[in-house]
Symmetry: C2
């Protein structure tokens, strides 16, 4: 089978492509071809035996969306997006990429659907479709009232995906990813950055800054789980899902204090001492509006699996990014 990945140069796209290279069997089919798209040139995953095409592209250009779809991939994993902070700073760019880009992609598929083309589309949505005030846990049937332009764009994309699927233009499924933790790489300026940083840096003996109180509760899953969600969404029987095609993925709901306790259990007091409290009221206010956690009942019933504790989330990072042991 042929898989096309948009946003393939991002962290999730890279990890998904690497996963396919390691294990190219998805359900009953074997992946023979990968098409990797992103605005920056993606890199081919190591060890993939099939054909790989890596292209620098802009889905916000309808002709480029058509060019991707003209290759008739069996599965399109649509990850391309302007991130939350950037979509908030640059209104036009956020709508152009996150809304128009997605719509161009869906439209390009619809144009070919009359010829019998009917791919699966796996769309990475986000828990940012929810906006405060939020209950805990948030039930599957809770309304979407995003408080960012990014969340608005993802919620709109979800609606389009469900309607295009209902009309028979493709077979779509939207998966709302939790905050991915522990994100590999360097500390960044994103408001959510500390959730990963307070684990990632101490594990390698470096200091991390905690800008919020320990009672802040949020919803996490590992990058490894995100790849698992994509693989499952690629093969799941969508007749079981029905017309409500957008699902909140499972995860682990923990307070920052519980994150720190998990770090203590996994890496000891030495690691915890590297977390420096530096309260930031602006970040605290932003993060207090985020989702504390979800029931995610439907997704679990449909076989999506995440970690069952934050200790597991930390261990997944140690295994996947630190060679399985602490330095």
């Amino acid at each position: 089978m042929h898989i096309a990945i948009t946003g393939a140069a991002g962290m999730v796209g890279r990890k998904f492509a690497e996963s396919v290279a390691r294990d190219p069997v998805l359900g009953t089919r074997t992946v023979e071809r990968l098409t990797l798209w992103d605005v920056v040139q993606p890199q081919p995953p190591a060890g993939f035996a099939g054909r790989v095409d890596c292209l620098s592209t802009d889905l916000a250009d309808p002709a480029q969306a058509q060019a991707l779809v003209a290759q008739r991939p069996d599965l399109i994993v649509h990850l391309a997006a302007v991130v939350s902070g950037e979509a908030e700073l640059d209104f036009d760019k956020g709508y152009r990429v996150n809304l128009d880009g997605t719509r161009h992609l869906f439209e390009a598929i619809r144009q070919l659907s009359a010829d019998g083309y009917h791919p699966r589309v796996v769309f990475a949505s986000s828990i940012a479709v929810y906006g405060a005030p939020l209950p805990y846990p948030i039930p599957d049937d809770y309304h979407q009232t995003p408080l960012t332009s990014y969340g608005t764009q993802k919620a709109i994309d979800e609606l389009l995906l469900a309607d295009y699927s209902r009309r028979g233009f493709f077979d779509g499924i939207g998966i709302r990813l939790p905050t991915l933790c522990v994100r590999p790489g360097k500390p960044n300026k994103a408001a959510s950055g500390f959730f990963s940083s307070i684990v990632r840096e101490p594990l390698i003996g470096q200091e991390a800054v905690l800008p919020v109180p320990e009672d802040v509760r949020h919803w996490h899953a590992s990058p490894r789980s995100a790849v698992g969600f994509l693989r499952h969404a690629a093969t799941l029987d969508l007749a079981r899902v029905g017309p409500r095609r957008n699902l909140t993925m499972p995860g682990v709901s923990v307070t920052v204090g519980e994150q720190i306790e998990a770090l203590r259990r996994v890496a000891g007091e030495k690691a915890v001492r590297l977390i420096r409290r530096e309260p930031d009221p602006a970040i605290t206010e932003i993060v207090r509006g985020w989702a504390p956690g979800f029931a995610a009942t439907r997704a679990r019933e449909l076989g999506f699996v995440a970690e069952s504790s934050f200790d597991e989330v930390i261990r997944a990072h140690i295994e996947d990014e630190l060679g399985g042991r602490l330095p």
Copy 2:
């Protein structure tokens, strides 16, 4: 103040303009100018003392949206839409008018917002943003999972309205209208047509066809209430509404059997005998997926008022369309 109405030739647009002509005081301001837009040329309301401009236009053309907004109306009542059945039959037209047309209007306002233009926008949404299976009553925080392209487009417009309002481009409020009953005029082919027909025709001594069983439950308000919702939305303090700008309007939840009992109370057995049962499995299946009724708690708390019984809905029709008495 200057009010612009899109979709002004439709039933709700005409009734709203007539209401403004009769009572031009909205809150603390007096309406001195009306701009009526529709794809078909709207008619000026009788008796309006101020200036009226009636224009045949297409909002799906960005330049025309800009032309409307360039007049800087204080209030834009956005009613223009391709109806549900047509949006389902003509995919491109539905998206072009109901999504792109709305977005062009919002964008045109945003382009002027840098100059300090900041109108109120009252958007007519629909309970079609909800799709089966649905609980009864549907709570205010229930998710939007439309099962029509029309409902999808309205749900997307709601998200855009909330985001543009949050970003400060205009002050928007979306009101989800119940099925309007009793619709004046002739019987039509819409799946919902019988809800009005089984009251409207018998009241004037004509036969009406009932295609569904009497246990079908649905959510109604009179056209008079719809006008009241628009007037209230035009003046409501939106600081009280907060960022969740889309509200399900109040209404009356009744079964078809309860509609018929109300007709019996208001117009007697003679009227009821004019309802002819002619079961239609296709219409029954469509209508069974529709919303049975809502809590509408927020809207009621914010002062939106509908009828409190279906008897009142019938009486409003007799007063507004039949001169206050049965023929």
